[in-house]
């Protein structure tokens, strides 16, 4: 399985994370190779979002190790962490668009720190390229409050790609969308993966999205990766805990 892909770019070993007495991740292990797209499945509240927030350093972890591009996240200072984050895109569940800024400003904001060497014209072209990718160039001067849920997800995706990251972390990208819009977003994610050659971790409950976008799936239960494999391998497993995720298809 691993030979199809490049070198490991995210290595998570024996990860432990708790909130007070609530142990969320107990002994989580996962490796992502360059070019690989992995979907993490799990029940609500099992710690999927916590996992990707630990990867970008938004949350601290109590034990284990997360290495991204060979660097241990917990050991990085703020400057090094910011440099690393420029290589990682993050699509939030709520899209997290800055609601006091227009769509254009939302995309330009990501370039404030890491796109300093770019001219105004280059920034403008880059923003327009990303909005064209997601089919929303016409919304460039709209405010987030004027956008529908699907449009906000697309803009969130465009914003995460504006720095041309090598890894994109998706936190439930299709949650709250109707099946047609959810499929459009899944197709768009696949298109962006292919166009920009990104690797990704996708947190999702949407099995259609998982089927479409993932090279590999991992099932998170009780804070560990309980099972992993391709979509077909997991869907044919008889283990009731794993099978439960595929019953809805």
């Amino acid at each position: 399985m691993s030979s199809e892909y490049g070198e490991p770019i995210i290595e998570i070993t024996h990860l432990e994370k708790s909130f007070g007495d609530n142990q969320v991740l107990t002994d989580f292990n996962l490796t992502i190779r360059r070019g690989e797209n992995v979907v993490v499945l799990g029940k609500s509240g099992c710690g999927k979002s916590v996992l990707i927030k630990c990867i970008v350093g938004l949350l601290n972890y109590q034990g284990g190790s997360i290495k991204v591009f060979g660097k241990e996240i917990a050991e990085l200072n703020q400057h090094a962490l910011d440099e690393l984050r420029a290589r990682i895109g993050f699509v939030f569940q709520s899209s997290a668009l800055y609601d006091s800024m227009t769509v254009r400003e939302n995309l330009e904001f990501s370039l404030r720190r890491h796109g300093k060497h770019k001219t105004k014209e280059e920034v403008k072209m880059l923003v327009e390229e990303m909005l064209t990718n997601v089919g929303l160039l016409h919304a460039i001067d709209l405010m987030p409050s004027e956008l529908s849920g699907g449009m906000r997800k697309r803009i969130g995706l465009a914003r995460s790609l504006v720095l041309k990251p090598e890894i994109v972390l998706y936190d439930e990208p299709t949650t709250g969308l109707d099946p047609i819009t959810a499929k459009e977003i899944s197709n768009l994610m696949l298109l962006m993966q292919q166009k920009y050659n990104t690797s990704s971790i996708i947190i999702s409950h949407d099995m259609h999205c998982a089927q479409l976008t993932a090279n590999r799936l991992t099932v998170m239960i009780d804070g560990i990766n309980y099972a992993q494999g391709t979509f077909n391998e997991l869907s044919s497993m008889t283990d009731p805990k794993v099978h439960a995720f595929f019953e809805t298809i």
């Binding site: 007495d21 927030k53 970008v56 938004l58 703020q78 910011d82 984050r85 420029a86 990682i88 993050f90 939030f92 569940q93 709520s94 997290a96 668009l97 800055y98 609601d99 904001f109 990501s110 404030r112 720190r113 890491h114 914003r159």
Partner: protein
């Protein structure tokens, strides 16, 4: 679950301190840490000047109508209500001096700071709280922008600089309101009224008032930002942040005022 010895040992202070008292001291400590982080971050580049100007416009210019109307009414009512008593003692001529001193020294700064605590404190608390629960602050951090510097530092700097200006303008409007109230009953000219007001004022009246205005501005910005930035529990938390930002900032305005009176008395200004 096996409890480790560390978990079972109770700190001596925890046995006699009620949870509410502990919570109060915890929060006071956290606010002090938050203020400390502000002083560290405000010194270090990059400086978010554009955002600070934008916030100054929102906090200062957009608060002017409310501050202006309130100050005008305060000046007018204070003068109208004081006049009969002064007339009774044959001291009507002291009216401009009394109005001037009370507005510049105390009523202007405190009332306008309270208005600002309500308008600006709640707005900052709710805005930052909403940004927190909708993950906008996390998105900024992931995007490589220091959210504390961009969101918190700019707002605290703006309130610290703008609220004294609002108080200065409010004082002027309140004095004008006072003049109109005098004008209703007598034929005193504006020149005479303001001449009497400024004749009775000294630097020792104005300087402590100006200095405490900066502390009011800082406290309102700090509490609004602290409450919003640490907002929890979804939309309910946003409401709580806005509400507690107003309550704590208003309380701090009175505490700072009390301290200012003691300090100015100690320094011989009173």
């Amino acid at each position: 679950m096996i409890m480790s010895p560390r978990n079972t040992i109770q700190h001596p202070s925890s046995s006699w301190m009620s949870p509410k008292v502990k919570e109060f001291f915890n929060e006071a400590g956290e606010i002090a840490q938050f203020a400390g982080r502000f002083f560290r971050e405000v010194m270090l580049p990059p400086y978010e000047i554009k955002e600070a100007i934008r916030q100054s416009y929102r906090i200062g210019y957009l608060s002017l109508p409310l501050v202006g109307i309130t100050a005008f009414i305060i000046g007018l009512v204070l003068t109208l209500q004081s006049r009969p008593t002064l007339v009774e003692f044959g001291a009507e001529a002291w009216l401009p001096s009394m109005v001037g001193i009370s507005i510049i020294r105390e009523i202007g700064p405190v009332i306008i700071a309270l208005i600002c605590a309500g308008k600006i404190g709640s707005s900052i608390g709710a805005e930052l709280g909403s940004m927190k629960v909708t993950e906008q602050i996390d998105a900024m951090e992931v995007g490589g922008t220091n959210p504390f510097k961009y969101i918190v530092v700019t707002r605290i700097v703006s309130t610290t600089l703008m609220i004294p200006i609002l108080i200065f303008i409010g004082d002027a409007i309140a004095l004008y309101g006072g003049f109109l109230a005098v004008k209703i009953n007598t034929s005193v000219s504006a020149t005479l009224f303001f001449h009497q007001v400024f004749n009775s004022l000294t630097f020792s009246d104005a300087i402590p008032a100006i200095i405490k205005s900066y502390f009011f501005g800082f406290a309102i910005g700090l509490i609004g930002c602290y409450k919003g930035y640490n907002s929890k529990k979804g939309t309910e938390g946003v409401g709580r942040s806005a509400n507690s930002a107003v309550v704590i900032a208003s309380l701090l305005v009175f505490i700072i005022d009390l301290m200012a009176v003691q300090i100015t008395q100690f320094l011989g200004f009173l």
